[in-house]
Subunit: 339 residues, 2 copies
C-alpha cells in the first residue's frame, strides 16, 4: 500500500483504545513479533477465524458491526475452552483504504475489545478482497481447559442464552425477498441485528464451568451439528454416544417465537448456526452446581436434553415420543453454504 | 463448504506430516482452541502475515510454492526476534476445493514445517478469494528477544545471505514483457524462484545473535526501508540515527550480478524487498563474536555499513564519497505496490 495509506491504518490500529492492562503482554504491536509471558500453571489457548465478504457477511455490511462480529466469534472459542481473553492479532485485507470505514471498524473493535479487556497484539494489513482474520489468545489453568471429549452417558446437555436468532437474522440482513428488516418492530430488529453482528461470546460462563462441565463447544454450525462434535469426540471405541433433546425446552427469544412459524422452530433453533452460545454437557452430580454458577452470572442456562448410549440426535416431544431430529424444511431461511 | 469438501480439507491438514515433537504443544488442531505451555523463563513470540493472490503472488502460482512462501515469511519474523519456532496456525480461503491444489499445498507446507520442526496447531478453512494467513509461534528466553530499538552510533550493520534476488525474480515470475524465465540458465532460474518462493527464514542465525546483536529486523520491504525502522525505533528523543552503507559491500548472488546492469544494482539490492534475510546492528565490541557465530552456522554475514549520528541512509562509494541513497530508477523491475 502507499505510505499515506499505511500511516492512516497505523493511526487506527495503534491507539490506546485497543490496549488494556492484562498480565502477560510483554510486547504489543510494532516489532517483528509480539511477546507474551504465560504464568506458571497456565496454558495459552488460541483460536483463529476468518470472515470473508459475501460468504460470512453481506457485502456492504457496517464496518463496526464486522469488527464486533469477527472478534466475538473468536472470543467464543476461548469461552468454549474456559479460557479468559488476553489479546488478539488481526489480519485485515482491504480493497481500498477509506477513513470512514477504518473509523467504524476501529470503533466496533474498540468497543468489543474493551468489553472483554482483550488487547490488540499485532497483525498485518494488506491490499486484497475484504477479508478479516482474527486470532485470539487466552489463559486457562493448566489441565482445566474444557474439551470436547469428556461427555458421558447420563450427562445433562445445556445451552447458554437462546438459539436461532442469528439464523433468523440472515435472510433479513441479506435482503432476501419476503424478509424486510424495516417492517419488524424495533425490538425484534435489534434482537436480530445483535444476534448476527454482536454474538455473545460467553467467556465468563466458560470460566465458571471449569471443573463442572464434562465437555463444551461453542455453537457456530448449530447445536445439532456442534453437539455431534462433542458426541463424536467423547465416544470411546465401540461405545457410541447420542443425545435425546427435549423439543419443548429449547430456548428461543421472543422475536424468534413471534417471527418463526411453529413447524420450523425446532429445526431452525437447533440447526441454524451462528448462535455463539455455549453447548455443554454436565455430569448429574454437578448439574446443581453448574446451574447455580450460571445463575450467579445472571445468564440463562437451559437443560435441553441428556447424553445417551446410541448415536445421532433424537428429539422427545411433549407426549414423550422420541424421533430422530429432522433439520430439513427450514433451509429457505439460511444460506446453504456459509462456511 | 459442503461436508465432502470439509472432509477433504481435514484429510490434508490433519496428518502426521504436520506434527513434530516440540515441547509446549499441549493440544493441536481439532478442539475449539489449541493449547500451548510456555516454559518458565521463556516468552512466546508470535507474528501474523497474509498473502493475497494477485497482490503478494501471481495468480496461478504453484500451491506448494505458496505454502512454502507463506510459512517462511512468517518464520522470518521469529528469526528477527531470535525466537525458535514451535507451531503455526493457518487461515486459508479458497475459491474452490481442488484435490490437486490441496495436495500441492500440503506438500509445500509439510516440507517447510518439517525443515523448521514447526507444527500445525489449528486454523480455519473458508470459502473466499485465495488468501493465506499464517501466524507463527516461537519461544525466546525472557528478556533476550532481539528488538528493533537497541541500535547505537558506531554499531556495525550486517545482513545475512544476499540481497535483491526476490525483487529481481518478480518481473520474471509475473511474465512481464522483456523478462523471460525460460531464457535464463537453469541455475539462475532456480536462484530466482527459490528467492521468491522459498525465502530463507534465518531462525538459526536469529537465535545465534541473541546477546550479540543490538537490534534486528527481517528484510521484507528492502534493507533501505527496514533499516530505517531500526534507526527510527532506536532514536532517542533528539538523538536521530542514520546509516552509512558501503556500496561495494552489499552482497548479491551470481545470478543477480549477471542479470542486473551495474547502475541498477545497488538501488535494487537495497530497495527491492522480499529478501527475508536478517538485517542487524552489532556493537563494535561484539562484532568478532557475531561473525564467528554466523560463520559456525556456515552463513554469509556481511558488514554493509555502520550506524551514525544523523538521519537517513547514505552510501559511500569506492572512492570514499558519501551521498544519500537513491532508490528511484530501478522501479520498472518490481511491483509498485505490493503490500
Amino acid at each position: 500500500m502507499a505510505l499515506a495509506e499505511f500511516e492512516l491504518i497505523r493511526q487506527y490500529f495503534n491507539t490506546a483504545s485497543l490496549t488494556f492492562p492484562r498480565p502477560g503482554i510483554v510486547l504489543g504491536p510494532g516489532d517483528d513479533c509480539a511477546l507474551l509471558a504465560v504464568p506458571a500453571g497456565s496454558h495459552l489457548a488460541m483460536s483463529m477465524d476468518t470472515l470473508n465478504e459475501g460468504v460470512h457477511f453481506p457485502a456492504g455490511a457496517d464496518a463496526a458491526d464486522l469488527a464486533q462480529r469477527c472478534l466475538r466469534v473468536n472470543l467464543s472459542d476461548l469461552a468454549a475452552m474456559g479460557a479468559e481473553p488476553v489479546g488478539f492479532t488481526l489480519a485485515l485485507s482491504l480493497p481500498n483504504v477509506s477513513e470512514d470505514w477504518l473509523q467504524g471498524f476501529n470503533r466496533g473493535l474498540s468497543q468489543c475489545a474493551s468489553q472483554y479487556q482483550c488487547s490488540l497484539l499485532g497483525g498485518d494489513t494488506t491490499r486484497g478482497p475484504l477479508t478479516i482474520t482474527i486470532q485470539v489468545h487466552g489463559l486457562v489453568p493448566a489441565g482445566q481447559a474444557l474439551r470436547r471429549n469428556g461427555a458421558r452417558v447420563g450427562d445433562g446437555i445445556y445451552v447458554t442464552g437462546v438459539l436461532g436468532d442469528a439464523a433468523l437474522a440472515l435472510p433479513y440482513l441479506t435482503h432476501r425477498p419476503g424478509f424486510d428488516l424495516s417492517a419488524l418492530n424495533p425490538a425484534d430488529r435489534e434482537t436480530l441485528q445483535a444476534a448476527f453482528y454482536r454474538p455473545p461470546a460467553r467467556t465468563a460462563a466458560g470460566a465458571a464451568l471449569r471443573g463442572l462441565a464434562s465437555a463444551a463447544i461453542d455453537v457456530s454450525d448449530g447445536v445439532a451439528s456442534d453437539l455431534l462434535h462433542i458426541l463424536d469426540a467423547s465416544a470411546n471405541g465401540d461405545a457410541m454416544l447420542g443425545a435425546v433433546l427435549d423439543g419443548g425446552n429449547v430456548p428461543v427469544s421472543q422475536a424468534f417465537a413471534r417471527l418463526v412459524a411453529s413447524p420450523d422452530r425446532l429445526a431452525m433453533a437447533l440447526g441454524g448456526g451462528d448462535d455463539y452460545e455455549l453447548c455443554v454437557t454436565v455430569p448429574p452430580a454437578r448439574e446443581a452446581q453448574a446451574r447455580a454458577a450460571l445463575q450467579a452470572l445472571g445468564l440463562q442456562f437451559t437443560r435441553i436434553g441428556e447424553v445417551v448410549a446410541g448415536s445421532g440426535i433424537m428429539v422427545r416431544d411433549g407426549s414423550g415420543v422420541v424421533q430422530p431430529l429432522r433439520l430439513n424444511g427450514y433451509r429457505h431461511f439460511g444460506m446453504d453454504d456459509n462456511e
